[in-house]
Subunit: 128 residues, 6 copies
């Protein structure tokens, strides 16, 4: 159980209520994810985090699929169960197959190992 | 300086020499990256690692650009200087712009923070 | 379940029993936390770890509340469930509110992201 | 050297120039830190990140000194050289002594170890 | 539950079936561990990973007990529940006692702390 | 440069001087490593840390070579340059060869990858 209350949609008023509505609309979800219900204990933080979330994950030069894969990679290295499930679900909604997911995790596997092999032996870059 | 010798192309013989040639051909590089020169202290490990590297980074269902972005994300979370430079260079060769690179790092920034906000407050997933 | 036995208060004798009593007295707890029950498999390690614990967390120039927040931040980045619960409980006993806890986690969120944005783009410090 | 250009104050125009001015005013600095010069490659990200930065680090219920210590703890666990220097400098400006800094790092030392001792032996929390 | 199917021994055919048989024989196990059942969604990755696994963990100059302890240390720092259980079980099969396991985790505890104390204060090596 | 003063042997008096002498004697070194010179800003912390260091790294049931390899593995995952050099030097003094060092890092490489492959796909343990 979370160590702070999760603000429910019923409890939300004013600015928080508006943000909750925008979140459901943006993600096309029937409920507000717990992430934002926890953030709502600090409305100004929720507001600026949500507006920045939309900037980062919204339309830009990088495609949404690559962004979702990046989010999965980061969440995997951090072993964040909540985010691994959320971004796997996001990738599945974009049509990502078992094969593609496996290949993505194989890349994570590969470079996790190489990163530490290099650092543990203090191998210097050829490029710098 | 590395804590083990980096095997030079001049020192390489037999199987190691063949792998070094394949590495230069595969990456279209005039030299063998230090990663593989360090691995060459243990030829069987070099051989199986290189053959697996080609399986993971070679043709499959996931496109090479997404794989390179995944490699950059992993290397960034691990703060591996060698790999960050290598994969940034790889992405640049694929034509990735400053804007795309910025957007990718913004996604890393975003989820590094969200991962820990969620875990630090023990917020449970809505999905499981 | 732990992969080593947790030494119970009934099993504890001699030096371990004395340390267990001191732990309960110091934390004003009716039981010995599992951390120390696990350490008690190696009495000399328990003894030196507990005596160092009291030095670090005991009276000094830094106030106990800041120390507890530091402990929560470290445990959050490591995603250690045991310690997150323990230090959140510790902060609650010191009267820390939901708002303060949220603000602390927002700071963790902020710098987790900034740390990796900077390292992933190899941005150098202005100060060094 | 950074892998993206660092936008200089001379290059900054419009919204980015206004944010750069606000950053210098807020931190009372004669220059714009490289962090924000890197972010300026993506103006909307800079804008939303800076406005959120001010919400998180600005006035609230948690005091600025605790926030700065939290930032140092996070940056230490991530081993982000840029941020360790920045937050140590921030703490020094607040009058933090060598003794307090040592005590803070001793707390980081203590719980880094305890976190992993507990997880490595799968010791469960007494509290949950 | 895993986010990809775990290929069962019944489903396995051809190359995957042969590898599954080799895995059971090598580990002297009556079942195929879930790790390899997940990898089997991508047969070429399973094949090259398994063949490299045998090179790294097979006979060499470093004894199997040290390798198993190294695997436990890595899995502990990463807090990978699956691997902590697997390598603790592996060490137990080699006759490792509670005392030895405690001492190993004490070493992990010690250097987790020292690593971050040093980096958080930017203490430079005497040796380089 | 370290962010706190490193106490020199000339500056050390009383208890700190005694500990510095014991450190040089224990490691058979002509100088006091910077780690302990930094800790000496907080004499009680230095004292309890050094006495615990000797308990953990001193004679026990686990051999010194395995402990040194564990220390290297932890320092590698944390990418602590100071400690990687110190423990590699320690292993070299024990006669560890390039081949053994390579094999140790290959094990780190292997399980760094497997840890994250498993966690990123939420693969559950067969053993629990």
């Amino acid at each position: 159980m979370a160590t702070v209350p999760l603000i429910s949609e019923q409890q939300a008023t004013g600015k928080v209520k508006d943000i909750f509505d925008d979140i459901k609309r943006t993600f096309n979800l029937p409920f507000v994810p717990n992430l934002f219900r926890a953030m709502a204990n600090h409305p100004a933080y929720l507001e600026s985090s949500w507006s920045r979330f939309k900037v980062i994950m919204g339309p830009g030069t990088l495609d949404p699929r690559t962004k979702e894969f990046l989010a999965l990679a980061v969440s995997t290295v951090n072993n964040c169960q909540y985010c691994i499930h959320a971004h796997t679900a996001g990738l599945r909604r974009m049509g990502v197959s078992d094969e593609e997911l496996l290949e993505a995790l194989a890349v994570v596997d590969l470079f996790m190992g190489i990163n530490k092999f290099l650092d543990g032996l203090r191998v210097e870059s050829d490029l710098t």
